[in-house]
């Protein structure tokens, strides 16, 4: 039998061992059935600031809704002086599973959490227009206590901003979200 041949058995055993060891860290790092809370805020930016972006004059405090206070420093760097919260979505999603979130203006945000350890999260994002055209397609890694802010121009000298945060899903029975 070929399995009894040491010449064949040794490479096969190495192959099996390596496959098991290769799969082990990922299992240990995050369970595929683990969930992650994706917290998305859609923000409308208005009152554009004319001139060179990131100029010192733009660093004055903009008008930011109280719900956006945690990202006000980031918003202050954008060439708008007013930011209002359009909608908030907070959903729990399974790691490595692709999900699509509908945004209020017809756009969609498809994402797939790649991993989530205690502090770090990897996220694939695909932000699309209502007609399916792609606005942004990226894969980012960031800390779970950080918020990824991305935005785009909209008609009427306005902007649409998405603030995305991912945190480990709480254990059953615990309250989720921010």
């Amino acid at each position: 039998m070929f399995l009894q041949s040491s010449r064949f058995f040794i490479p096969l055993a190495c192959l099996v061992a390596v496959a098991v060891l290769g799969a082990w860290p990922e299992r240990a790092m995050c369970d595929d059935s683990a969930s992650v809370n994706i917290f998305v805020r859609a923000i409308q930016a208005s009152e554009p600031i004319k001139g060179e972006p990131n100029a010192p004059s733009e660093l004055q405090a903009p008008s930011v809704a109280p719900e956006l206070a945690d990202i006000s420093a980031k918003l202050a760097q954008l060439p708008f002086s007013s930011f209002t919260l359009l909608t908030t979505k907070n959903e729990s999603h399974v790691i490595k599973k692709r999900e699509t979130m509908k945004l209020p203006n017809g756009q969609s945000l498809t994402f797939r959490p790649m991993y989530m350890d205690n502090k770090r999260v990897g996220l694939w994002l695909n932000w699309r227009e209502a007609d399916g055209s792609e606005i942004l397609n990226t894969r980012v890694h960031f800390d779970s206590d950080d918020t990824v802010v991305t935005g785009t121009d909209c008609a009427g000298d306005r902007g649409l901003i998405l603030a995305i945060k991912a945190v480990p899903a709480p254990t059953p029975g615990a309250a989720g979200g921010e």
Binding site: F2, S5, R7, F8, P11, L12, C14, L15, V18, A19, G22, P25, E26, M29, C30, Q44, P53, N54, A73, K74, Q77, L78, L86, P104, N105, G106, Q107, M114, Y115, D117, K119, R120, G122, E129, A130, D131, S133, E134, I135, L136, N137, T138, R139, V140, H141, F142, D143, D146, T147, V148, V149, T150, G151, T152, D153, C154, A155, G156, R158, L160
Partner: protein, 223 residues
């Protein structure tokens, strides 16, 4: 002319003459061949034909003579075969149809190489895994040029990449602007689209599809 001249030689007589020509006859057979040649012209013609054929073969062999080192090469090949037989076993011909597993067994080198490749891939996995604590990914300075297409390596926004935002790749339908936040930990990703290609924030559903399609730009170039 004898009676035998009018008859062709029998098979036994041809064999006798061939052995005589080759010098393979004994005393009695040689005597019989000589008597046959004396009394039969056909036998003499047959022997003459053998001589002509032999001379032609010699001239052909002389024209196509093997190189001088032929025997040396043959001997070296025999030696290598003997050495191979010592390590791998005697060469045998297996007339049975090869099964799938026997073909696999004959491809041990492929399996060995494959397992080596998997070992290398796993080593890379250990090293580059985001959750790996043993080998942190070295931080790279952020370059705007790396964004907007398929970046070859992750772009990070802080020296300590463990706590910085990293981008594997980024693609957008407009020019991309990354605005680093005051803490230097992450950046805001802004997709710039030209006026006219953008849509109202809250009026997307009301816009007809033909009018809703924006002009697409990639890396500042119109598609």
């Amino acid at each position: 002319m004898t009676k035998r001249d009018s008859f062709e030689l029998s098979e036994g007589e041809q064999l006798l003459l061939s052995q005589y020509f080759d010098g393979e006859c004994g005393f009695l057979a040689r005597r019989r061949a000589e008597k046959l040649l004396q009394r039969s012209g056909a036998a003499r013609d047959f022997l003459e034909a053998l001589q002509e054929m032999s001379s032609e073969c010699r001239s052909f062999a002389a024209e196509n003579a093997p190189s001088a080192d032929l025997w040396q090469r043959i001997e070296s090949r025999i030696d290598s075969e003997e050495r191979a037989a010592f390590y791998l076993g005697e060469r045998r011909k297996d007339d049975r149809r090869e099964s799938f597993f026997s073909r696999l067994r004959s491809q041990q080198a492929v399996w060995g190489g494959l397992s080596g490749a998997v070992v290398a891939a796993s080593a890379l996995f250990f090293v580059t895994s985001p959750g790996s604590k043993a080998a942190p990914v070295p931080a790279q300075p952020f370059h705007q040029a790396a964004i907007g297409g398929m970046a070859a390596s992750p772009a990070s926004f802080q020296n300590n990449s463990r706590s910085a935002m990293e981008v594997d790749w980024m693609r957008a339908n407009g020019s991309l602007k990354l605005i680093q936040d005051p803490s230097g930990k992450s950046a805001t990703i802004w997709v710039r689209r030209r006026p006219g290609s953008v849509r109202p924030v809250n009026a997307a559903r009301a816009t007809p599809p033909s009018m809703a399609t924006p002009h697409l730009y990639l890396d500042g170039q119109r598609r």
